[in-house]
């Protein structure tokens, strides 16, 4: 049942958007769709208003950092869910680290508001058109984006963690 739905969905998406959908794969019975940044809002909007698919729920929105992929270092992952058809799938958009900008999803789903702020705070991805894009979880004067792979877990000003005692 889930496989049939995935098949129908991926065929409809390919038919509608053609080459702007960069790839559709199925892993662990879930579709992973990679699209270009330029069509992300029309794409999700089409899915939301589609009579059959009716993707009415944004489950989650997050970022991932792949430092070794040139020109595609940052990725925004949208987890979407259609209650009527019970399909879940993921949409990925890859952004270059030199220009990490992408249009905001808050016009379609109000839930994206804080999720985009969190992704901005962790990765530095700017969401164009967001009503209030600022740091949400850390201190206001945080000047770096902590979840990028080049930053360590422990902040550099720690003096009490002596590696000698931790066997490092």
């Amino acid at each position: 049942m889930a496989e049939a739905n995935n098949q129908i969905l991926s065929e409809a998406i390919s038919a509608q958007f053609g080459s702007q959908v960069l790839s559709i794969e199925e892993t662990y019975a879930t579709l992973d769709i990679v699209v270009e940044k330029s069509i992300i809002i029309p794409f999700i909007s089409w899915l939301k208003t589609h009579k059959t698919f009716q993707v009415n729920f944004l489950t989650s929105l997050c970022g991932v950092h792949f430092p070794e992929q040139n020109d595609r270092e940052l990725s925004v992952v949208y987890h979407l869910h259609s209650f009527i058809n019970n399909i879940r799938f993921r949409v990925h958009v890859f952004l270059p680290a030199s220009q990490p900008e992408i249009p905001t999803l808050t016009t379609l789903f109000a839930a994206a508001n804080w999720m985009e702020r969190e992704t901005f705070e962790f990765y530095g991805i700017k969401f164009l058109g967001h009503p209030d894009l600022r740091i949400i979880l850390n201190v206001e004067d945080m000047d770096y984006h902590p979840l990028l792979k080049q930053y360590p877990l422990v902040d550099a000003t720690r003096t009490d963690k002596d590696d000698k005692y931790f066997g490092r």
Binding site: V139, P146, Y151, L153, K161
Partner: protein, 182 residues
């Protein structure tokens, strides 16, 4: 005529006679303070739930006199910091501490308040003694209610034996200066 001594239950040694008892005022004040603590539960995370269990009927904190919780620092004398303090919360914790009137005590409940706990990350304060002076540390993650009660008992011992003039002494003022609290 010799003076008899007697010890009040949970109280100081006294020379007693017919209708009077003689002891140091310091000890009576200590006894009164120790058995009527007004705690400020600064509960931030999981240790706060264990504190709720301590306040509930099975482990009743009220039997030690600490029944009346005060969420206003102006009316509290024991600051119980329970849970992780992030760097964003540090200045607020310090402000709450400075708003309390002397004499005040601080108990750090749980591993996160004592030393940052399992969260050795960029956003967590590694122990509240980086911003305020602490009197008793209760380890555990979270400490069971018995351990929190043990911490309260140790605070009671500290309170009972505290010299009257400690808060005006140079040593105490130096301690506060080292935390930039004045």
């Amino acid at each position: 005529m010799g003076l008899n001594t007697s010890k009040l239950p949970n109280g100081p040694e006294m020379y007693v006679g017919e209708g009077y008892g003689l002891t140091q005022i310091e000890k009576v004040i200590g006894m009164a303070r120790a058995n009527s603590i007004w705690p400020l539960p600064f509960a931030t995370s999981c240790c706060g739930i264990e504190f709720m269990a301590t306040m509930a009927s099975t482990y009743d904190l009220g039997r030690f006199g600490a029944e009346r919780l005060s969420f206003s620092p102006r009316q509290a004398d024991l600051l119980m910091v329970m849970g992780t303090i992030a760097k964003k919360m540090g200045p607020i914790l310090k402000q709450v501490y400075t708003q309390m009137a002397e004499p005040k005590w601080v108990i750090a409940v749980g591993a996160c308040a004592s030393s940052g706990g399992i969260f050795d990350t960029y956003s967590v304060l590694q122990g509240i003694d980086k911003v305020i002076p602490v009197d008793v540390y209760v380890p555990g993650c979270p400490p069971p209610p018995e351990a929190i009660l043990d911490g309260i008992l140790k605070i009671q011992e500290l309170i009972k034996n505290e010299p009257l003039r400690r808060r005006e002494s140079a040593e105490y003022n130096d301690l506060l200066q080292s935390y930039q609290i004045d």
